[in-house]
């Protein structure tokens, strides 16, 4: 028996996919939009929009003139291939050889599969209805060659199965587009009045070749099965899951730890080989009484370091109730990220933020719970309270480095504290101030530095900052809130210099 192919066509692939996310889109016209030369252009339509005459390539404004309440969502570039790849992987339940057929289809090699589903008719029906159930409108074509299957799905009015003996006849009735040749050749064929393949299939090959190129002949041969069409099936994603069945149910901590170690070595080894690292891992035990117990850990950075992950799990193992015993262990890496192996440096110990051990320490501290681990990084704001921010991510590199062009205190009070000040107006530095009940006489002063409110964040008065040194040589950062014109200005202490 020769090969059989099914082509699956998704007339509204992307809009169907978008509608999955928002069911309200099912019953009203909507389109995807993209910018083309500065104009908003429709890149895909759903069935309702299409029925109202909206088609791909229309300028959105024109379409809105026709359908006033047309909904438009921003298209996501290359989403088609992603969706199709997922769908192709999903189709592995029907056939081991499923391929993405851009831009809007799948190609399944189904030789010898159909009988498992009760014949080709039932098989096609199963695929169609399952895909419909997933939310995708589809049409299928089945034939001995991929090209004919593709064409039949698109150019016939309903899902169609082409028997081997019908192949040539059906092909003859199809338009030249069915051969998947360049638009230029298709247009020329139509202009010449050759609207169906039947009208030229019997012309001498050299006549066709000279006018429409080699491709046309190749495609014809492929369509008729005289030349083999190559199909590239999708590769299933690899799974980061390891299982360890036990001959005897395990109920001891030592046994569980041993199982964990086994699984960790296997999983981390795999991750390391693929230059990946886990951010989350789940350790599961299937108990003899049918109960599943599990515990999770998370890491700060992707890792495949066995000892580190083991350390994180160590505190959790006691939470696992082995009951009468566990007969199957499973360790799954849930969240995988790329973790490229870096060149090891022999002479230089990595240190500072890059030190692996720092990250592991952070993981362990966080794992204990109740401890906040963070650091300060500079933020690009004049307003002192916003000129830094807390970061919990060790690897976060700040956008700017700390300012050195202006003096800033090393200790900032949060919030600034109201103080009493004696200062000559209008904007001279204070002569003395009272802080925490103590009078400080100012011997040296600098300022003012005026910092205005960031008006887009909050309204209010500006601050005039002064750096003061008291008779003890201690330096303070204080400010006057409000302009000296206003009678209601106030003085605050905001920080201390080292």
């Amino acid at each position: 028996m020769g090969a059989r192919y099914i082509s699956v066509w998704f007339p509204h692939l992307r809009t169907d996919w978008f509608a999955l996310g928002d069911p309200t889109f099912h019953n009203r016209p909507f389109v995807l939009r993209t910018t083309d030369h500065g104009r908003m252009v429709i890149s895909a339509t759903n069935i309702h929009a299409e029925r109202k005459g909206i088609h791909k390539g229309l300028v959105l404004a024109d379409a809105r003139a026709i359908v006033t309440d047309l909904e438009a969502i921003d298209d996501i570039p290359d989403i088609s291939v992603r969706i199709l790849t997922e769908l192709a992987q999903w189709c592995v339940r029907f056939t081991p050889v499923a391929a993405v057929d851009p831009d809007d289809g799948l190609l399944l090699e189904v030789s010898g599969c159909a009988h498992l589903w009760g014949g080709e008719q039932c098989y096609m029906h199963a695929i169609e209805s399952r895909l419909n159930a997933r939310g995708y409108g589809v049409r299928l074509g089945m034939a001995d060659t991929p090209i004919v299957a593709w064409a039949v799905a698109r150019f016939e009015t309903e899902t169609l199965r082409v028997e081997t003996h019908q192949l040539r006849n059906i092909l003859m009735t199809l338009p030249p587009e069915a051969l998947r040749i360049e638009t230029d050749a298709i247009q020329r064929l139509h202009k010449l009045g050759l609207h169906r393949i039947a009208q030229f299939i019997n012309m001498p090959r050299n006549v066709l070749r000279r006018r429409f190129g080699r491709t046309l002949l190749d495609q014809l041969d492929k369509a008729l099965g005289d030349q083999v069409d190559v199909i590239v099936p999708v590769v299933l994603p690899s799974q980061y899951i390891e299982r360890l069945p036990c001959l005897e149910p395990v109920a001891t901590r030592a046994g569980i730890e041993f199982a964990l170690e086994e699984l960790l070595v296997a999983l981390c080894g795999k991750l390391q080989r693929e230059q990946k690292g886990l951010r989350q891992a789940v350790f599961k035990g299937y108990r003899v009484d049918g109960v599943t117990i599990e515990t999770k850990i998370g890491t700060h950075r992707p890792t495949h370091h066995v000892a580190h992950v083991r350390k994180l799990f160590e505190n959790k193992i006691s939470q696992l109730e082995p009951g009468l015993g566990i007969e199957l262990f499973e360790l799954e890496a849930k969240d995988i990220e790329d973790n490229p192996v870096e060149q090891e440096r022999i002479w230089e110990k990595s240190s500072g933020l890059d030190d692996e051990r720092l990250n592991e320490l952070v993981d362990r501290l966080l794992d204990r719970g109740g401890i906040e681990v963070s650091r300060f990084v500079a933020a690009e704001h004049y307003w002192p309270e916003r000129s830094f921010k807390k970061s919990v991510d060790v690897s976060e590199s700040p956008a700017i480095s700390w300012r050195t062009d202006v003096l800033r205190p090393s200790h900032l009070l949060s919030p600034p504290e109201l103080i009493d000040v004696t200062a000559p107006i209008p904007d001279y530095p204070p002569m003395l101030f009272v802080y925490e009940g103590k009078i400080h006489r100012v011997v040296k002063a600098d300022g003012p530095e005026r910092i205005e409110q960031e008006w887009w964040l909050q309204q209010g008065q500006h601050r005039d900052y002064y750096i003061l040194e008291d008779e003890n040589g201690v330096r303070y950062w204080i400010f006057r809130l409000g302009h000296y014109h206003d009678s209601n200005y106030k003085w605050f202490i905001h920080g201390f210099f080292a």
Binding site: R51, I66, R188, L194, R211, E380, I400, R450, E452
Partner: protein, 1071 residues
């Protein structure tokens, strides 16, 4: 000791300053300054405005600029004299010319070269280095500057409140003493009021392409860069009182004022003698040429009168300059026509600037306003649009680029762009920005109305949004860039750069100055508008054809005047292609107005415009003209003004004169009114005028109702005012094009086709119209056509019109010339063409256009041969023809209807048949009548008509009504769709190429409309015209609607265009 602010950045330092120059000057006045400088970055673009404002308020503007050098600290420069100003201007010009548009590259050496007579202030760094010292590089630069500028150099000191002010001032002061460069206080002003800081932050974000949230240190730390009161500046510098004093020293030393700039006419135009004598000589010479030796007395009087006036106002040079351009154009056989108030004078008629005989109408020569304002008269000259560049280059060549340049247009922030920029800077989502900018609202107070905001689906309580609207309101009207005026030229006697810096325009070979026409006008410079007009190109081509084929020597002036046949034709709205009166609105006006004389055409041109329509002046005029309503005047004084238009104001001049005579406006006020009318709604200045006008008219005894009506009419003119003086010049072209169409439809159609694109109609309508007038039109052919459409020998009354290659989509002129040049005795095979190097792509275009008939091939056969990609090798050349013909018989034969569709696809027209004729049978069985049968029916009959959609229009003046013109094989039908129905039948109206409508007939004399009640998309019928070979697929009943759309989807993607019906030129939409 007066403080003068010497460092002021206005918004003409694009995206840096936060205030208009006018605002800065006004604020300076309010603060009691006696003078202020404007120092924009490498430009003088904003100083004229500031100067005008300062002149008004009685303070002094110190012109200046900030010189940002390629290397080294920036300098502020102030000219002390006219000569110094000229050098600075020349300096900026040099910087501009060596950089691309919008940039200015200056080096220290340039400044040194042009330093004479100017004061300079060097701008120090804004902070000290880590050692609390000034950057040694700056110190070195300062020494260098000092060596070059000597005592003319000062050092700027500013209190920026950024921490180390005291230390910085101290260091600068020390340095100043050491280097003997006096310090001078400035406040580096960027906005006139502290509240503008927000907008200034936003423009910084626009400039830096960031949002306010992530702009960070790109913004200023505080709001201190505003124009501060005198006392405050004195206080800030109380330790350095010299710095304050030095400002007045500099201010006093820079006494140069822009008023000193004196415009001088180029001397070339006058020759050696006195300009007035020269003008008098030329005018009389012209008068004798036109009238012979017996110049009529009326003309003589007019000439004397006008010449005296010109002499009194010293406008002779201006007329001579315009005359010079016109003479050049005439020598080169470029058609031109002057317009504008002064253009319609006897003098201009004698000089040949205009061809409108001034005795045809009565316009006062001293246009009211010009005389009052004492500014140059207004003459715009239209040239053939295809050859205007020749005139422009002539000007450059004759006067030199250093003496002639185009005036700038200051592109302003319009509300759409402003809201986009502000919204983006404020970090609004793209979606919100789109919603804000696409909502059609003009800027107004309504913006801040909660309900209005909510109606657009936005949250009215959103503070950010409110802030965006508020800042947008401030941002609107900010200058954004200096563009090039459409054709306004400034020509001077001396170096133009003595007056104003010159910049590179974006277009190659063009330069323009930094000032726009208002600036020019404020300083009293001469400006000549050199404009392009498509119809002049068409008329010139028609004159040439008329000479070649009919031996006529036509000019704009010698076309027989007042020809009744021409007016008859016009009265029947037979005006396709005619200048100005070919639109549908004009066509339905013509049979009502029935123009009988030249002045009627003037009115016709002016009446179908938004102004009169919005002002509700059309119907009263028609009623009065037809004697249905008495002609009355509200007062005898207005009778003088309104007599020509039967008491209804139709022209801009009339509106202004009513304001003057009726409401007691002064000439200047009326002029301000005219200006504000153009920008009416945008600025909200209207209301003050409204009150003044109405009160004035009440006082003079007019009724309030009439006063309000006049104001409404003025408002109408606001957006689209049309002066009588322009209408007169246009009317002449209307007459000339009508005359040509009436007597030589072949010549007219050919010239029109060769001048496209212009006007309202597609080639198909022009060709059909020509055929209707008895012109035989022949198809384009490889052996018979040229690039241009051409006239062949006479057949019947007229010459036959041979379509040219330019009608074929995708053909280039070069390809066409190649074909013409290698045609020789004519091509006999396609191989002939190929051997001459004509590309396959061109051959395919020709095949598609069915242009191989003279070789005996139809388009399909030709394409079959053209398609062969491989060239036969020489060995087999003998057999090539046979191999090309192989299987040609196997091709399906093309039906006539298919040919017609392909004709449309390739040339947008078909000479074989009209597409609708093929479906006439089906249409007839559905009861659809032909367009030409409508006139046989009666008003109110219910009818069905169908046709190709030519034009869809929804003019803003017609409250949502859509006007559609459809065309069938017999002619055109005009449809009217009311708003409700339009919404109901939106898809049909917008998507049909063949539209069928049911409706009620409305016949008013010769004007026939169908008031539509239902619409149907019949484009499907056209699809049947292609013998697709797959009709089965087209018509097969589909089980599910989903599948129908699914199939059509694939087809529309991959089948050639004609399935989509796109081959028909898309109807002009709503423009």
């Amino acid at each position: 000791m007066r403080y003068t602010e010497l460092q002021v950045t206005s918004n003409f330092s694009f995206l840096r300053g936060g205030s208009h120059p006018e605002e800065l000057v006004k604020q300076a006045v309010a603060l009691g300054y006696s003078s202020i400088a404007i120092t924009d970055r490498n430009t003088f673009a904003g100083i004229v405005r500031a100067h005008v404002e300062a002149r008004k308020s009685g303070i002094r503007l110190i012109p200046g600029c900030r010189l940002d050098l390629m290397k080294g600290p920036a300098l502020l420069a102030y000219p002390r004299s006219k000569e110094a100003y000229a050098s600075l201007s020349a300096l900026l010009t040099r910087g501009n010319m060596r950089a691309e548009k919008g940039k200015c590259h200056l080096h220290f050496e340039d400044v040194v070269e042009f330093r004479k007579g100017s004061q300079f202030i060097v701008i120090p760094p804004s902070s000290l280095n880590d050692l609390y010292e000034l950057d040694p590089l700056f110190v070195a630069d300062l020494r260098r500057y000092k060596a070059a500028f000597g005592d003319s150099l000062y050092l700027a000191v500013s209190r920026m409140y950024i921490g180390n002010d005291a230390k910085l001032l101290h260091r600068l002061h020390k340095l100043s003493q050491l280097e003997k460069v006096p310090v001078v206080a400035t406040n580096d002003v960027h906005y006139h009021h502290p509240l503008r800081r927000e907008l200034q932050d936003v423009v910084t974000c626009v400039r830096e392409k960031c949002t306010i949230q992530n702009a960070g240190f790109k913004l200023c730390q505080n709001a201190e860069r505003y124009l501060k009161p005198h006392e405050e500046m004195v206080r800030l510098f109380q330790q350095y009182p010299n710095a304050i004093e030095m400002t007045s020293v500099i201010a006093e030393s820079c006494q140069f004022s822009l008023s000193e700039l004196k415009y001088q006419y180029p001397s070339e135009v006058t020759g050696k003698g006195d300009p007035q004598d020269e003008l008098t000589r030329l005018v009389w010479k012209g008068a004798h040429r036109i009238f012979g030796n017996d110049v009529p007395e009326k003309v003589t009087t007019a000439i004397h009168h006008e010449l005296t006036f010109i002499g009194e106002m010293s406008y002779a040079e201006y007329f001579l300059t315009v005359y010079d351009l016109v003479r050049f154009a005439r020598d080169r056989n470029i058609l031109c026509q002057g317009r504008g108030s002064a253009a319609n004078s006897t003098v201009c008629y004698c000089l040949g600037i205009t061809s409108v005989d001034p005795s045809k109408f009565e316009l006062l020569f001293e246009r009211f306003l010009s005389a009052a304002r004492n500014e140059p008269p207004d003459i715009d000259v239209d040239f053939e649009h295809e050859r205007r560049e020749e005139v422009i280059q002539y000007i450059y060549k004759k006067y030199g680029r250093h003496r002639a340049a185009i005036v700038a247009t200051v592109t302003q922030q319009h509300h759409k762009g402003a809201i986009r920029d502000v919204g983006k800077a404020m970090g609004l989502s793209v979606d919100t920005i789109n919603r804000l900018s696409s909502s059609m609202w003009e800027f107004s107070d309504e913006w801040f109305d909660s309900e209005t905001i909510a109606k657009h689906g936005l949250n009215p309580n959103d503070q950010t949004l409110r802030k965006v609207l508020e800042l947008t309101a401030q941002f609107i009207g900010f200058p954004r860039q200096l563009g090039q005026h459409t054709g306004g030229f400034v020509i001077t006697e001396g170096q133009l750069s003595d007056l104003c810096p010159i910049i590179n325009a974006r277009m190659e070979d063009r330069t323009n100055i930094e000032w726009n026409k208002d600036d020019i006008e404020a300083l009293g410079f001469l400006k000549i508008d050199v404009l392009g007009l498509g119809m002049l190109t068409c008329i010139r081509k028609a004159f040439t054809l008329a000479k070649d084929h009919y031996g006529l020597n036509l000019t704009l002036a010698n076309i027989p005047q007042d020809d009744q046949a021409v007016y008859d034709m016009v009265s029947h709205a037979d005006t396709i292609g005619v200048f100005q009166i070919e639109s549908r609105a004009q066509q339905s006006m013509l049979p009502r107005l029935r123009p009988k004389c030249f002045y009627d055409l003037v009115i016709e041109v002016a009446i179908v415009r938004p102004g009169p329509i919005q002002g509700d002046m059309v119907h009263p005029y028609l009623r009065r003209r037809n004697g249905e309503e008495p002609v009355e005047y509200p007062s005898p004084e207005l009778e003088l003004i309104l007599k020509r238009t039967l008491g209804v104001p139709l022209f801009q001049e009339q509106a202004m004169k009513i304001a003057i005579v009726g409401a007691g406006f002064t000439g200047a006020e009326a002029d301000e009114l005219r200006r504000s009318m153009a920008t009416f709604k945008a600025k909200g200045m209207v209301s003050s005028f409204e009150e003044k006008l109405i009160n004035g008219m009440l006082k003079n005894g007019y009724t309030e109702e009439y006063a309000r009506k006049v104001f409404r009419q003025l408002e109408g003119f606001g957006s689209y005012g049309f002066p009588e003086s322009h209408a007169v010049s246009f009317a002449l072209l209307v007459y000339v094009s009508s005359w040509l169409k009436c007597y030589y439809p072949d010549v007219f159609a050919c010239a029109l086709l060769n001048s496209l694109p212009m006007g309202f109609y597609q080639p198909a309508q022009i060709v059909i119209d020509a055929q209707k007038h008895g012109v035989e039109v022949l198809p384009a052919d490889v052996n018979l056509s040229n690039w241009d459409n051409a006239l062949e020998e006479k057949k019947g009354k007229f010459c036959m019109l041979r379509l040219g290659f330019r009608q074929i989509k995708g053909m280039s002129e070069a390809d066409a010339q190649l074909i013409e040049s290698c045609r020789g005795q004519g091509f006999t095979t396609i191989q002939n063409l190929r051997a001459n190097g004509i590309s396959d792509a061109t051959l395919e275009l020709l095949a598609d256009a069915d242009a191989f008939r003279s070789i005996g091939l139809d388009r399909r056969q030709a394409l079959w041969q053209v398609s062969v990609k491989e060239k036969p090798t020489p060995v087999f050349r003998a057999g090539e023809n046979n191999s090309n013909d192989e299987h040609i018989h196997a091709l399906p034969k093309m039906s006539l209807s298919e040919h017609v569709l392909h004709d449309y696809a390739s040339t947008s027209l078909s000479l074989k048949a009209h597409p609708v004729s093929f479906v006439r049978g089906q249409l007839q069985s559905l009861g659809v009548v032909r367009s030409k049968d409508l006139s046989q029916m009666k008003d109110g009959d219910r009818v069905k008509v169908a046709g190709l959609v030519l034009v869809r229009q929804r003019p803003g003046t017609a409250s949502g009504i859509c006007f559609i013109t459809i065309e069938d094989e017999a002619g055109c039908t005009n449809l009217v769709v009311f708003e409700k129905l339009f919404n109901q039948f939106r898809p049909e109206i917008l998507q049909s190429s063949l539209l069928m409508v049911e409706g009620k007939l409305q016949i008013e004399g010769e004007v026939i409309h169908v008031i539509v009640s239902r619409c149907f998309n019949y484009s499907g019928l056209l699809r049947q015209m292609t013998r697709d070979g797959r009709e089965d697929l087209n018509t097969a009943p589909l089980s599910r609607a989903e599948e129908r759309s699914a199939t059509s989807d694939v087809r529309s993607q991959s089948k050639p265009e004609f399935i989509q019906g796109k081959i028909f030129p898309e109807g002009r939409n709503f423009k």
